[in-house]
């Protein structure tokens, strides 16, 4: 479904991605783990077409997207729903307008139908009667859930999650994990999640890949990652300060 081939990206002299390769199969949940600032979000933005790579290719359903023009990308972005790290809710709009935003642009539904779908998708993430609230009136966990409702409202094939459990307490983070698992079952979606939260990764992943120094250094099932012989993977999954990964 998604194939990333030899992806390179540098910002100024800072080489963030140095040849990323991986494949995401239809219907699976792939979790990419890695340190903060190692380029996980940059990788997601390449897959969405938001950023263009310096070198390498991204295939979505066998269409190479890095060479597409902006208007051609519209059909590709329609396949994706994305939950951003800080939720990226439009703060000048109400919750209802936020959730309706993608529906208005990706579908020809009537206003009434969109209104119903907004209500329905908010209910899916456990929220009711908050359509008229502004994003700043919501708690961190509620904002995440509204962000998820906005991302899934137009039924995308692939859902991308950027650090879904960051910035919320462990209980709410686990509730988000349950939601991610439920979304996959209900929508039959393919999911790509980036996180540094190993509790989440083990709970939701079919496969886990580790991004380190701009490359995917290992991919496997949660068990395979747990038993990895790679000292870098072992240091990261056990959260140890000592080891081959520099901690500053």
């Amino acid at each position: 479904m998604i194939r990333v081939v030899d992806l390179h990206k540098a910002f100024g002299g800072n080489k963030v991605l140095r040849g990323v390769n991986f494949r995401l199969r239809r219907g699976e949940t792939l979790v990419i783990i890695g340190q903060s600032g190692c380029g996980k979000s940059v990788l997601l933005k390449h897959i969405m077409g938001i950023l263009k790579p310096d070198r390498g290719k991204v295939f979505v359903d066998d269409v190479e997207i890095t060479s597409l023009r902006e208007d051609e990308l519209h059909a590709i972005t329609r396949k994706f729903g994305m939950l951003f790290q800080g939720t990226a809710l439009f703060d000048s709009m109400t919750v209802g307008e936020n959730v309706a935003f993608g529906l208005e642009r990706y579908t020809d539904y009537s206003r009434e139908k969109i209104k119903d779908l907004v209500r329905e998708n908010l209910a899916k993430v456990g929220l009711r009667d908050i359509e008229n609230l502004m994003p700043y009136e919501l708690s961190g966990g509620m904002r995440k859930r509204v962000g998820l409702a906005r991302a899934i409202a137009y039924k995308p094939d692939i859902i991308l999650y950027d650090e879904p459990s960051t910035g919320i307490d462990p209980i709410r983070a686990d509730a988000i994990n349950d939601l991610i698992i439920r979304m996959k079952k209900e929508m039959n979606a393919t999911e790509l999640i980036i996180t540094h939260d190993m509790v989440s990764a083990y709970k939701i992943a079919d496969r886990i890949g580790m991004l380190y120094e701009g490359k995917i250094i290992e991919v496997g099932t949660p068990e395979e990652i747990e038993n990895s012989k790679n000292p870098i993977v072992q240091q990261f999954i056990h959260g140890r300060a000592e080891g081959p990964i520099e901690n500053w």
């Binding site: 329609r78 800080g86 439009f90 935003f101």
Partner: protein, 264 residues
């Protein structure tokens, strides 16, 4: 220990990089003008933000600009030509205000009030990933953010300038006729005799160009803002400085390029 001193070459690089980015944004904005869907809601909201909400500040600057211009032309005629010649200040006030002073004052005021707000709003959207969210939800950020602002600014600046012309010219008239006792009939007759419609119109052309400059610089700086709240603050300051300087420079070249009068 000491901050690094930037080489002059880095300023040249930054200048050409900026020029390239703004030119590209200008071309993309122009192309997007003709693509659907049009963001009517945001366009109308921007018309109100740029136009209606700027009326108080334009009223004040135009009124005091007109008063002070009226004062100095009165003093000038009185001192150098002699008593009784002050009524010739009418056409000079009207010409100076409508061709130069009002378009520039309106441009600078709208830069401070609206250009900076555009950068702050779009810059905040950028650093909180809302611009990326627009893209992911099928809205092209140029079409959604830049086009409505540029179009609204292009339309509202000339309208604000007409309004400012009326206030400014009336203030100059008020100062000369009601405060200094210049003959009302002769003042009006002189103004009508030496003023042309083109004088007003050339000021409006300038204002429309200033409108495009303000919106493009405001949006450009917002879209490239980075570095958190401090970065947005710096981008906002840059918008005011760059747009204000550009308005003054472009005004000179437009004054040179546009004919002084038509059909005389």
């Amino acid at each position: 220990m000491f901050p690094k001193v930037k080489s002059p070459l880095s300023f040249v690089n930054a200048f050409f990089e900026g020029l390239g980015e703004v030119s590209l944004l200008c071309v993309k904005t122009f192309k997007s003008l003709f693509k659907k869907p049009w963001e009517k809601g945001i366009f109308i909201q921007q018309l109100e933000e740029i136009g209606v909400r700027s009326l108080p500040v334009v009223s004040l600057t135009a009124a005091f600009g007109g008063l002070v211009f009226g004062l100095q032309t009165y003093v000038g005629f009185h001192r150098y030509i002699g008593p009784g010649s002050e009524s010739y200040g009418g056409p000079i006030i009207s010409l100076g205000l409508s061709k130069e002073l009002i378009p520039i004052l309106v441009g600078l005021m709208v830069t401070g009030r609206v250009g900076s707000a555009m950068t702050a709003e779009i810059g905040t959207m950028r650093i909180t990933e809302q611009v990326d969210a627009l893209f992911s939800l099928g809205a092209d950020p140029i079409r959604y953010l830049v086009v409505p602002r540029t179009l609204a600014s292009f339309i509202m600046l000339p309208i604000l300038t007409i309004y400012g012309d009326i206030i400014g010219i009336a203030a100059g008239f008020f100062y000369n006729v009601y405060m200094m006792g210049v003959n009302r009939v002769i003042y009006i007759r002189n103004t009508m005799m030496y003023m042309e419609l083109w004088d007003l119109f050339s000021g409006l052309i300038k204002a429309a160009v200033f409108g495009i400059i303000i919106a493009l610089i405001g949006c450009w700086q917002g879209l490239k803002a980075e570095g958190g709240a401090e970065g947005v603050g710096r981008a906002t300051t840059r918008t005011v400085v760059i747009a204000s300087i550009l308005i003054l420079i472009v005004n000179f070249f437009l004054s040179k390029a546009l004919p002084a009068d038509i059909g005389r």
